[in-house]
């Protein structure tokens, strides 16, 4: 099982000091955070994409390439790459490029983006969000698998004899996770292609995530990619830890109360009860996270949101230390002991390459 962190790249005023980091500072800090994720033994760093303030991450592959150059094992991913407003041709090119530079340590998570005003800036319409996601991915899928592509669709200029360059590393397309909070169409899409499904999980109640994952698993089996429990599932999570549970609650509360997404709404206690947010001791995080398996089954990737809502970088790095030292080693052991042998790990480039070579050997 893979463990990692995902960042939405918000630049938020620290409510306890009134200080707001500059873009320059926050961008450098995210690199420090990603590198530290590898240092403490995490597997994945995923970065969001936004085209509006207060977020900085408009160009994730640039940032990820820079991080790739300074890490050696960290799997680089996105959370999410906008499949609606980006040109699928550019996504195909950017991520193949990143694959080469990062020696294959790349996958990506596709999402629609739910910020209405962003769509028209890219000549799109949010009301066509689902059709855009379906058509654009159909093209992206083809561009990575067919050398010369002729293509015509509803949303983009037709392509004649187009070859996306560079070709995917070793002719193996980056593994794709389809991320969704609430659209069953996206679970269906992930299942159809045999791709991964990532449930955001952090904004909605567990019962909702359970049903989305269940739908994806059933449809994954329906489309003949394996049994339902072999489908590739990722989950988000959100934690804040201190050795002493009460210290965690006390320190995190002002950040929670003023957070851009849910601030000034439910109490920390309500939100903790209703969503996977866990604020407390490392042991509480371990217990809660192990509990996710009860409603989604054996899953392949767990990403935590740590750096948000104006938390100082120093605090985020301390959170990473706790994750790496106290939480993830236990989770690795416990999850591994529970997972049946026929349930696959999350595909990495190295694993996919080994599989491809084995297949070619058999054919030869």
């Amino acid at each position: 099982m893979q463990f990692g962190i995902f960042s939405v790249s918000d630049i938020t005023t620290d409510p306890t000091t009134g200080r707001t980091p500059t873009e320059a500072q926050r961008i450098k800090d995210i690199v420090t955070i990603a590198k530290h994720a590898e240092e403490v033994g995490l597997d994945v760093f995923a970065l969001g994409e936004h085209h509006n303030e207060p977020f900085f991450s408009s160009s994730p592959t640039t940032t990820l390439a820079y991080i790739a150059a300074q890490t050696s094992t960290l799997q680089l991913s996105t959370a999410t790459t906008l499949i609606t407003t980006n040109d699928p041709v550019k996504i195909a090119e950017d991520f193949a490029m990143l694959q080469h530079l990062a020696d294959g340590r790349v996958d990506l998570m596709l999402g629609r983006g739910n910020t209405g005003p962003v769509y028209p800036w890219f000549g799109k319409d949010i009301r066509a969000g689902i059709p855009l996601a379906l058509e654009n991915y159909a093209l992206l899928h083809k561009l990575w698998r067919e050398h010369v592509v002729d293509w015509q669709g509803k949303f983009r200029t037709p392509l004649q004899s187009f070859t996306s360059t560079p070709r995917p590393l070793d002719e193996i397309p980056p593994f794709v996770w389809h991320g969704s909070i609430r659209s069953p169409e996206i679970a269906e899409q992930a299942a159809y292609y045999g791709d991964g499904f990532f449930a955001n999980h952090i904004f909605w109640p567990a019962s909702h995530t359970q049903r989305m994952v269940q739908l994806y698993r059933q449809r994954f089996e329906h489309y003949g990619h394996g049994s339902a429990d072999q489908a590739v599932v990722g989950l988000g999570g959100q934690v804040f830890m201190r050795k002493n549970s009460q210290d965690a609650v006390k320190e995190f509360r002002p950040y929670f109360d003023n957070a851009p997404v849910y601030g000034h709404g439910p109490s920390l206690e309500d939100f903790t009860r209703e969503t996977p947010l866990t604020v407390g001791s490392p042991q509480q995080v371990i217990d809660r996270t192990l509990g996710f398996r009860d409603y989604v089954g054996d899953y392949q990737r767990q990403l935590f949101l740590l750096d948000h809502a104006g938390l100082p970088t120093k605090t985020v790095l301390e959170q990473l230390d706790l994750l790496g030292e106290e939480v993830v080693p236990v989770l690795r052991k416990e999850f591994a002991a529970l997972k049946p042998a026929h349930v696959p790990d999350a595909p990495t480039h190295a694993a996919l390459l080994a599989k491809k070579n084995a297949k070619e050997e058999v054919q030869a």
Binding site: F203, P205, P266, D270, E274
Partner: protein, 204 residues
């Protein structure tokens, strides 16, 4: 006897509340009228005051917490609704509107809904026509022709058998007839896709 579900939504804030009083009279009368037509109405009352925090939280977070979710599920599964709002600043109360703002926009489609409102003065009586009816038309509800307005005067001791009583009887009878002639409400599962993926791709 046919079994049907009636959900009553009361947006009254005080205890006791004349809004709840009107809601109770409407639902009791509807139960009697339905029974005469061979329909047993199972009544569930939702007090929006109890959900006020969760309604606001739903606006801010995008999801309904437990109690509000139960209420939304009950409304969606109901065969008929009775809704009563107090008049605040010449319209429905903000809490009342907010409940419908966070409800799925298709939840009330073709559902019989009896509209009612209370106010301190009869001068507000047209609120039913200029505020509530347009809202429920937008939500594509099957609005019961008679809606009921009650001002402070109507609760006077001398009007127990007065014009308010007559309007309650008429509206409740209309609601009962509407429920009787309809099939039970069907709740569609949001996770049940009707289309195969290849069809979805073809029909972009």
């Amino acid at each position: 006897m046919k079994q049907r579900k009636l959900v009553v939504i009361s947006a009254g804030l005080s205890q006791p509340s004349s809004t709840r009083l009107l809601a109770d009279q409407l639902s009791a009368t509807a139960v009697r009228a339905a029974a005469q037509l061979g329909v047993h109405l199972d009544v569930q009352v939702i007090e929006l005051r109890d959900l006020a925090h969760e309604i606001t939280d739903n606006m801010l977070t995008g999801f309904a917490r437990t109690e509000l979710r139960y209420a939304q599920e009950a409304v969606t599964a109901a065969d008929a609704l009775i809704t009563v709002t107090p008049v605040f600043s010449a319209s429905y109360s903000g809490l009342y509107k907010s409940f419908f703002d966070v409800l799925d926009k298709d939840a009330l489609a073709d559902k019989p809904v009896l509209l009612a409102a209370t106010a301190g003065t009869a001068r507000h009586s047209l609120v039913l026509e200029h505020a509530l009816r347009p809202l429920f038309s937008y939500l594509r509800a099957a609005i019961i022709p008679t809606s009921v307005f009650a001002a402070s005067d109507d609760w006077g001791a001398d009007s127990v058998e007065g014009p308010l009583r007559g309007r309650i009887e008429r509206a409740a009878a209309e609601l009962a007839r509407e429920v009787e002639r309809r099939e039970p409400a069907v709740v569609t599962d949001p996770f049940a896709l009707s289309a195969d993926f290849e069809d979805m791709l073809k029909n972009l």
